[in-house]
Assembly symmetry: C2
Homo-oligomer: 106 residues x 2
DNA sequence: TGAACATATGAAGATATGTTCATATGTTAA
DNA sequence: TTAACATATGAACATATCTTCATATGTTCA
């Protein structure tokens, strides 16, 4: 190869603490229950119990996982009366999933 | 765009086994050591020992993690004499990381 | 062939993670 | 206020994951 001096698109390695954050973010996507929750609320917001029913899982499990999603700013929360409605935070999230899916389904 | 019954971007939930694969893929990105390795070999291929030196980690640790990357088809491998050179498999991988980074840094 | 080097791998220990159970907190309506 | 319902959370357990150590495997060259 000629032209060895040229950097095409050299991504600088982020600081170590950013890398930890980044790893933490991907960890969130690295669980099938959370992925299912994200798909479930990707189009319409849904209450906790509703999500639990749709996925046929314990309310507690869903609640615990929603907390993880919340902490990572991946969901929006809206209270209405007794119920709390969750929805995906932005298209960003969907795009990350789609990108992963591309690789898996390649 | 016109309006034929079309849902804007409704992602069908993939089969459960695809979701497991997807989760497994994201798990790979969910570790800072692996992220650092991926950054390290994102531009130029590098030998195992070299990666270990750059990251100041044990050869064994790097080797174990490279195996994970290999199993998930995220790296390319090339042997040259005694050394084995690893590089990122495709831009796809970089894009997934960049997308996550966007979210973290937003 | 054997020495030196590079990489891979199994086992073990420490830590992290996911689910369940029981219960606490928060909300509404009577 | 209390009853009924929706959600959140702490503790406990099982399982998964990461790193290290010791060693095996693979390669080159004298």
């Amino acid at each position: 190869m000629e032209n060895e001096k040229e950097k095409v698109t050299t991504p600088e390695m982020p600081d170590i603490d950013v890398l930890f954050e980044l790893a933490d973010l991907f960890k969130v996507f690295g669980d099938s229950t959370r992925l299912r929750i994200m798909y479930t609320i990707s189009e319409n917001e849904m209450s906790v119990l509703n999500i639990a029913e749709v996925l046929n899982m314990e309310q507690s499990t869903i609640s615990h996982q929603l907390r993880v999603l919340r902490q990572n700013k991946l969901v929006r929360v809206r209270r209405e009366g007794k119920q709390i409605y969750y929805s995906l935070d932005d298209d960003h999230v969907k795009r990350i999933i789609e990108m992963g899916l591309d690789h898996v389904l390649e």
